[in-house]
C-alpha cells in the first residue's frame, strides 16, 4: 500500500512540475546593415562615424566585410577609413552581445576641391555562426548627391505634439519649431496674403470695420462662439486657410493695394500646446485658449504693415514686415510681438509634420494630430499609390512614376496614413514626392506610436527613385 502511495506521489509530482514549452515565432536571419544609405559629403568636414547596425543583439562573435569602391576619389588622398582596410576591403569584428559596430570615415579634402567624388561602402560578407543574410541597407554612399533615402523619426514631441518638423528628404535634415511660437505668416511670394497658424487651431473672420480702433469686444461678441474650429458648423470653414495649402485659399484674402479696402479681422489665437499626459495612445494637443486679437494688414512697399491690438483696446500697435525672399513666409508672433524664424528656406523642406486644421465635408473645420504636409507653396507635390497585386513599395521604380498623378494639395499624406483605433500605420499605401531639385522619392509611413505605445512619434522611410 505504501509503495503504491509513493509511486503515485512521484508520478503526481512529475505531472505538477511539467514545464510549459513555448511555440517559436517564425524566425528571421541575423542581419548586419548600414544605419544610413547615404552621407552628404558636404556635411563632413573632418570625420564621420559610419554606423553599422544589427537586426538583433549578436549571440556569438563574428565579423562583417565591407568593400570600398571610390569614384573619382583615391584612398589615402581624398579619404581614409579607421580602422584601416586591407586593400579594398574593411573587416570589422564583433563580439557576442554587440548590437552594432562602427568605423570612421576621414575626409582629407576639406575645404572641398571638387564635388564629383563619391565613395561606396558595401557589405559583402557576414561571418556569423547562425542564420544570417545581407539585406536592407547593404550599402552606404558618401557623395555630394541627393540622399538615396533613409528612415527618419521626426521629433514631433510625443502626445502633446509640441513641435512642427520641416523635413528635407535630399539632405535628411529636420528643422524643429515649437508649435505656438508664431501666429501669422506673411506670404513672401508675388501675392500679398497672410496665413494663420493652423497647428494651433487659429481662425479669422473679416469684420465690416476698416478702422481697427473702432472694433470693440462688444462689437465682435456675436462672433466669438462661431469663429473657432471644431464647431461642427460647415460655415466655419471660411475662417481658416484652405487646408489644401494653396495660398489663394487663405482666410483673410488678398491684402489690397487700396488701404481703405483692407478690413479689420477678428483673430482667434487658438490654443497653447497641451501639457497634460493623456492615456497611452491618445493625444493632448490643445492646451488653454490663447485669446483673441483684432488685426488689420495693409501693404507697405513690397512688404506689409500689421496693425494689431487686444479686442478691448482703443489703441493699437504696428509692425512693418518685409517679405523674406527664398522663404514661403515671414512669420510674426504675438508672444514676442516680433518677427520670428519658423520655416527653413522654401526649397529646403519637403514634408511638414504638424498638428493641423483640416476640413471635414459637412462638418467644417476640425483639428487633426499626426498630420503630414508636402510643401505645396514651394511647388513640392506628391501623390498616393495604393498597394495592389504587382504594386508594392519595394518594387515601385522610377518608370512607374506618373506625372499626371501629382496633386495640387499639401494633404496627400495628411492624416489618412494612420489608423487611430488600432494605433497602426496603414500598410496598403505609399507616396511619391518630387522635391525642389526634381528628385523623386517614394515614401512609406511606418508608425506613429513609439515602442511604449505613446503617440506623437512618427516614423517613415523613403528612397530615391533612380
Amino acid at each position: 500500500m505504501m509503495k503504491k502511495l509513493l509511486l503515485f506521489f512521484v508520478l503526481f509530482t512529475a505531472v505538477f512540475a511539467g514545464c510549459e514549452s513555448e511555440d517559436q515565432v517564425a524566425s528571421q536571419p541575423f542581419v548586419v546593415a548600414f544605419e544610413k544609405r547615404s552621407y552628404d559629403h558636404r556635411q563632413i568636414s573632418q570625420n564621420q562615424t559610419i554606423q553599422v547596425v544589427f537586426s538583433e543583439r549578436a549571440i556569438a562573435p563574428g565579423f562583417v566585410k565591407i568593400r570600398i569602391t571610390p569614384t573619382a576619389a583615391v584612398y589615402g588622398l581624398d579619404f581614409e577609413l579607421f580602422p584601416s582596410p586591407e586593400g579594398s576591403e574593411l573587416v570589422i569584428p564583433f563580439a557576442s552581445g554587440d548590437e552594432g559596430v562602427s568605423f570612421e570615415f576621414r575626409n582629407l579634402i576639406f575645404p572641398f576641391d571638387a564635388f564629383d567624388k563619391s565613395i561606396r561602402l558595401e557589405i559583402v560578407e557576414i561571418d556569423y555562426p547562425h542564420w544570417n543574410n545581407i539585406q536592407g541597407y547593404t550599402a552606404a554612399v558618401v557623395s555630394f548627391s541627393a540622399s538615396l533615402g533613409a528612415t527618419a523619426e521626426p521629433n514631433v514631441g510625443g502626445p502633446n505634439q509640441g513641435n512642427q518638423i520641416y523635413f528635407d528628404l535630399s539632405t535628411e535634415t529636420a528643422t524643429e519649431v515649437w508649435r505656438d511660437s508664431w501666429d501669422l505668416g506673411f506670404y513672401a511670394g508675388d501675392e500679398f496674403r497672410v496665413g494663420l497658424n493652423a497647428s494651433i487651431y487659429m481662425a479669422a473672420k473679416r469684420l465690416d470695420a476698416t478702422n481697427i480702433d473702432a472694433v470693440t469686444e462688444a462689437s465682435v461678441q456675436p462672433f466669438l462662439s462661431s469663429v473657432s474650429i471644431g464647431t461642427f458648423d460647415p460655415v466655419n470653414a471660411a475662417y481658416i486657410d484652405h487646408p489644401n495649402g494653396l495660398i489663394a485659399g487663405n482666410a483673410m484674402g488678398e491684402v489690397s493695394t487700396i488701404e481703405a479696402d483692407n478690413h479689420v479681422y477678428l483673430v482667434n489665437l487658438g490654443y497653447t500646446v497641451g501639457n497634460t499626459t493623456p492615456p497611452t495612445g491618445s493625444v493632448a494637443v490643445a492646451g488653454s485658449p490663447r485669446g483673441w486679437r483684432k488685426i488689420k494688414v495693409t501693404r507697405e512697399g513690397n512688404g506689409y504693415k500689421l496693425q494689431y491690438a487686444p479686442l478691448n483696446s482703443a489703441t493699437h500697435q504696428e509692425a512693418i514686415i518685409a517679405k523674406n525672399q527664398g522663404h514661403n513666409f515671414t512669420f510674426f508672433s504675438f508672444n514676442t510681438n516680433n518677427v520670428v524664424n519658423v520655416e527653413p528656406e522654401k526649397d529646403k523642406w519637403d514634408l511638414g509634420f504638424t498638428v493641423f486644421t483640416n476640413i471635414i465635408d459637412g462638418a467644417g473645420s476640425y483639428g487633426y494630430s499626426d498630420f503630414v504636409l508636402n510643401n505645396i507653396k514651394a511647388g513640392i507635390k506628391a501623390y498616393r499609390v495604393n498597394v495592389s497585386p504587382g504594386v508594392s513599395y519595394e518594387n515601385f521604380a522610377l518608370a512607374n512614376v506618373s506625372d499626371a498623378n501629382f496633386q495640387d494639395d499639401q494633404r496627400v499624406i495628411g492624416a489618412d496614413w494612420r489608423d487611430v483605433f488600432t494605433g497602426s500605420a496603414y500598410t496598403d499605401r505609399f507616396y511619391v514626392l518630387r522635391d525642389a531639385d526634381g528628385n523623386l522619392y517614394k515614401i512609406r509611413m511606418l508608425s506613429f506610436l513609439n515602442q511604449n505605445g505613446v503617440r506623437g512619434y512618427p516614423k517613415f522611410e523613403y528612397k530615391l527613385l533612380q
Binding site: M1, E20, V32, V53, S447, Q451, N452
Partner: protein, 708 residues
C-alpha cells in the same frame, strides 16, 4: 421542437416499469437528502418549507465539471453567461443577471472583486471540497439580505470523514474544443485533498488544486503571431488558477460544532492584443513586433469561523464570522513577441472588495413541535475600490458600505400537514434609507405523497458602482451615474406542487410542478434625461416582470435514474426610460433539461448523460435614434441551442481508483446568432453571442487512499 419531443418522452419513460435488474442499489440518499439553506436546522428536503433544489456530490462527480459554471450549465432556469473579453462567466436566472443572484459558501456570501455574493465569476468557484449545492429561487431578502432577488446558490462544503486519513489526488485533462496537446493547449487540472481525523473531536483537511486553461484559439493565432491583421490572441482568454483551502473542525460533543475554513485563490488571465506593431526596421529589413498585452491577476482570501449547536434548553444557535477579500490587478505591458521581453510594465489594482461579515441566528426558543421562532442579525461592511479602468469612472472610487440587518421569522405547524412561516428583515445601511424585506411561506401536505408549497418573498437590490458613479462626458458623450439612486425592489411568489412516490426499495419517483411570478420595481436603467438626446443618466424608473412554470421529474429504478425538466417563462419590461417606442408585451421562452444514468455494478461502471435545451429568447430592440419618434422597435431573437454532456465512470481496485471519461458540449455550440442585443449609447449591437468553445473531451483519474 426538441422541447416538444422531449417532454412526452420523459413521461413515457416514467410509465415504464419493467427494468429487469438483479443488482439493485436503493437510492436511499435521495430520501434522506438534508438541506441547510433557509432552514432553522439542517433538515430533510421533504420537510423544508422552502423549495430547495439539491445538486448532490454524486451528480457533481458524474458530470465531472471543473467549476461551478460547468455544473450550472445543465441546471434548469439558469443560464451561464461567459465573456470572452474578461474571461468571466456569470449566472443568469429568470433573465436577471448576477447583480440579482447571491452565491454563498456555507451560508456566507462569497467575495469577488466586484461584490460580496453578487457578480461571482462561476469559473472561480472550485467544486473539489463540496458536498452539495443548494439552489433556492425567488426573492430571499429575509434569509439572505439584499441582492438575493432572483435567488441564491448555496455551496455546502464537506466537513467530516469516516476515515482516519483520506488522501485524494486527481488529474483531469480536457480538450478545449478540438485543441489539445497536453502542454500548451487544453485544460490541465491537478488536485490533491487530504483529510484527517486528528481525534474524535478534531477533523482537518487541506486541499490544493491547480487549474490551467490554455485558452481557446478557434480561428485566432495565439501569442506568438506577428501579423497585424486582428488574428493574434485567443477567442477565450487563457487563465491559470490555484485554489488552496483548509478546514479545521472541532466537535466537543454532539450538541456543538465549530469550524474554521480558510481559502486562498489566485488567478491569472492573459490578454493578448490583436493589434501588433510590427516595428519594422528598413535598415535591416527585419521586424521586432510589439503588442500591448495585459494580464489580470486575482487574489482571494477567505477566513470563516462558524459555531453552531444546541443548548440544553433546546435553544439552537448558528453564528458566522468572516473576513474575505478579493483583488484584481491589471498588469499592462508592451510585449516583444520575438524575444518575449516585457517592458513599460505597470501593475495596479483594477478592482477590489474587502468585507467583514457576521451573521447569527437563535431559534427553537420554545422547544415546541408546533411553533418555532428564529431571530438573527446580519452585519457586513464592504470596502470597495474601482479604478478608472473598470469603466467610465472619472476617478478611482473607494468607499465603504455597511449593512446592518436584523431579521426574524416563525415557523408554525398549524396542523401536522400545514406549516406556515412568515418572516421579516429590517435592512439598515450606511448609504441608503432603511429597507424591509418580507416573506411568507407555507407548506401543505395533501396526502398521498403530494406537497404544496407557496413562497412569497421580497428583496431589495443595491445600486452598483457603475450605476452610481459612471462619468463619461466629452464632446460626443454624456453618460453619468446617479449618486441619488435608491435600491430596486424585487418581489416574487412561487407555488410548488410536489409528488413523491415510492414503491418497495427499487422505485422512487418525484415530480414537481412550479409556477412563479417575479417582478423588480424601480429598476435602474440609463435614461436619456435632456431633450438633446445625447445626455444619459441612471435612474430608478423601469419595471421588470417575469412569470413562468416548470415541471421536473426524477425517477430512480434500481440502477437506473432519470431526471427531466421543462420550463416555460415570459419576461416583460416596462421601459419608462426610453422616450422612443417601447413594448411591454411578455416575451416567452422555453428550457428543457434531462439527465440519465445507468449503473452497471458488475463492471463498477456508471454511464451518464446530461442534456439541456435552451429555446430561443426574445427581446425588444429599438433601432435608429433611440430618442426620436422615428425609432422603430422589433423583436430581436437569440437562437436556441442545446448542450449535451456525457460521461462514463469506472472504478477499479475496490472503488479506490476512479476513471471518468467524458465529453462536454457534444452539440458543438460556440456562438449563437442573436439580434436580441441592444446597441448601447455608443456601441453597435453584436450579431452573435459567445457561449462555448465547442465539443470537448476530458479524462479524470482520481485515487482514494483511505485508511484508518
Amino acid at each position: 421542437m426538441l422541447a416538444k419531443t422531449l417532454l412526452p418522452a420523459a413521461f413515457l419513460l416514467f410509465g415504464l416499469s419493467a427494468f429487469a435488474q438483479n443488482d439493485t442499489i436503493v437510492s436511499g440518499e435521495k430520501l434522506k437528502e438534508v438541506v441547510v439553506t433557509g432552514q432553522y436546522n439542517p433538515q430533510s428536503v421533504k420537510k423544508s418549507v422552502y423549495q430547495v433544489e439539491v445538486i448532490s456530490r454524486e451528480v457533481i462527480d458524474r458530470q465531472a465539471g471543473n467549476n461551478l459554471a460547468d455544473l450550472l450549465n445543465q441546471t434548469l432556469n439558469i443560464t451561464v453567461m461567459p465573456s470572452s473579453s474578461t474571461g468571466k462567466s456569470t449566472v443568469e436566472m429568470f433573465g436577471l443577471d448576477s447583480k440579482y443572484i447571491k452565491i454563498l459558501v456555507d451560508n456566507v456570501p462569497v467575495i469577488n472583486d466586484e461584490g460580496l455574493g453578487n457578480f461571482t465569476d462561476l469559473t472561480q468557484i472550485n467544486l473539489d471540497d463540496i458536498q452539495q449545492i443548494e439552489i433556492v429561487r425567488g426573492s430571499m431578502g429575509v434569509e439572505y439580505g439584499a441582492n438575493a432577488v432572483a435567488g441564491i446558490i448555496n455551496i455546502i462544503t464537506k466537513k467530516s470523514s469516516k476515515y482516519k486519513w483520506e488522501v485524494t489526488p486527481f488529474l483531469q485533462e480536457e480538450t478545449i474544443g478540438n485543441e489539445y496537446d497536453g502542454i500548451t493547449k487544453g485544460r490541465h487540472i491537478r488536485s490533491i485533498r487530504i483529510g484527517h481525523n486528528i481525534s474524535p473531536n478534531w477533523y482537518a483537511y487541506g486541499m490544493f488544486t491547480a487549474n490551467d486553461f490554455d485558452g481557446f484559439l478557434n480561428h485566432k493565432k495565439g501569442r506568438d503571431y506577428i501579423q497585424n491583421d486582428s488574428l493574434r490572441g485567443y477567442e477565450w482568454l487563457p487563465k491559470s488558477q490555484l485554489h488552496a483551502k483548509a478546514h479545521l473542525g472541532f466537535t466537543p460533543n454532539h450538541s456543538h460544532r465549530f469550524f474554521y475554513r480558510f481559502e486562498f485563490f489566485n488567478e491569472k488571465t492573459k490578454f493578448f492584443n490583436d493589434v501588433v506593431d510590427l516595428n519594422y526596421d528598413p535598415a535591416t529589413e527585419t521586424n521586432d513586433p510589439i503588442a500591448n498585452d495585459k494580464m489580470y491577476k486575482s487574489r482571494r482570501f477567505v477566513h470563516l469561523l462558524n459555531g453552531s449547536g444546541r443548548f440544553e434548553s433546546g435553544l439552537t444557535y448558528d453564528v458566522y464570522a468572516s473576513y474575505q477579500q478579493q483583488e484584481r490587478d491589471l498588469v499592462d505591458f508592451q510585449y516583444r513577441i520575438r524575444s518575449g521581453e516585457k517592458f513599460n510594465l505597470t501593475d495596479q489594482t483594477y478592482e477590489s472588495r474587502k468585507a467583514w461579515f457576521t451573521k447569527g441566528t437563535l431559534s427553537n426558543f420554545l422547544d415546541s413541535e408546533t411553533v418555532d421562532f428564529q431571530v438573527g442579525y446580519e452585519v457586513n461592511e464592504i470596502h470597495g475600490y474601482a479604478s478608472t479602468f473598470t469603466g467610465m469612472l472619472p476617478h478611482p472610487i473607494e468607499r465603504t458600505l455597511g449593512s446592518y440587518d436584523v431579521f426574524g421569522s416563525t415557523e408554525i405547524n398549524v396542523t401536522s400537514k400545514f406549516s406556515l412561516r412568515p418572516g421579516a428583515r429590517a435592512l439598515f445601511s450606511s448609504k441608503f434609507d432603511p429597507m424591509a424585506a418580507l416573506s411568507l411561506s407555507a407548506k401543505y401536505s395533501l396526502g398521498g405523497g403530494y406537497d404544496l408549497r407557496g413562497v412569497f418573498g421580497t428583496c431589495p437590490r443595491l445600486p452598483t458602482y457603475e450605476e452610481l458613479y459612471t462619468f463619461f462626458v466629452d464632446a460626443n458623450h454624456n453618460v453619468t451615474g446617479n449618486p441619488n439612486l435608491t435600491p430596486e425592489n424585487g418581489v416574487s411568489a412561487f407555488l410548488h406542487l410536489g409528488k413523491v412516490y415510492r414503491s418497495g426499495s427499487k422505485l422512487a419517483f418525484d415530480t414537481k410542478f412550479s409556477a412563479w411570478y417575479l417582478n423588480v420595481r424601480d429598476r435602474i436603467e440609463l435614461i436619456s434625461f435632456v431633450d438633446d438626446g445625447l445626455s444619459w443618466q441612471y435612474g430608478n424608473i423601469d419595471l421588470y416582470r417575469t412569470y413562468g412554470s416548470s415541471l421536473t421529474s426524477q425517477i430512480h429504478y434500481g440502477n437506473f435514474g432519470f431526471n427531466a425538466g421543462f420550463t416555460f417563462s415570459g419576461v416583460s419590461k416596462v421601459i419608462n426610460s426610453s422616450t422612443g417606442p417601447s413594448n411591454d408585451d411578455y416575451l416567452h421562452s422555453v428550457q428543457a433539461n434531462g439527465n440519465a444514468f445507468y449503473r452497471i455494478p458488475k463492471w463498477s461502471t456508471t454511464l451518464s448523460t446530461f442534456l439541456k435545451y435552451n429555446g430561443p429568447e426574445y427581446q425588444f430592440i429599438t433601432t435608429g435614434d433611440l430618442t426620436e419618434e422615428g425609432g422603430t422597435i422589433f423583436r430581436g431573437k437569440r437562437d436556441g441551442f442545446t448542450s449535451l454532456d456525457a460521461t462514463v465512470t469506472k472504478s477499479f481496485d475496490k472503488e479506490r481508483l476512479q476513471v471518468t471519461l467524458g465529453a462536454r458540449n457534444l452539440t458543438d455550440v460556440t456562438r449563437v446568432n442573436t439580434t436580441a442585443v441592444q446597441g448601447g449609447t455608443h456601441d453597435g449591437a453584436a450579431s452573435s453571442q459567445l457561449l462555448g468553445y465547442g465539443r470537448s473531451y476530458f479524462l479524470k483519474i482520481l485515487y482514494k487512499f483511505n485508511f484508518g
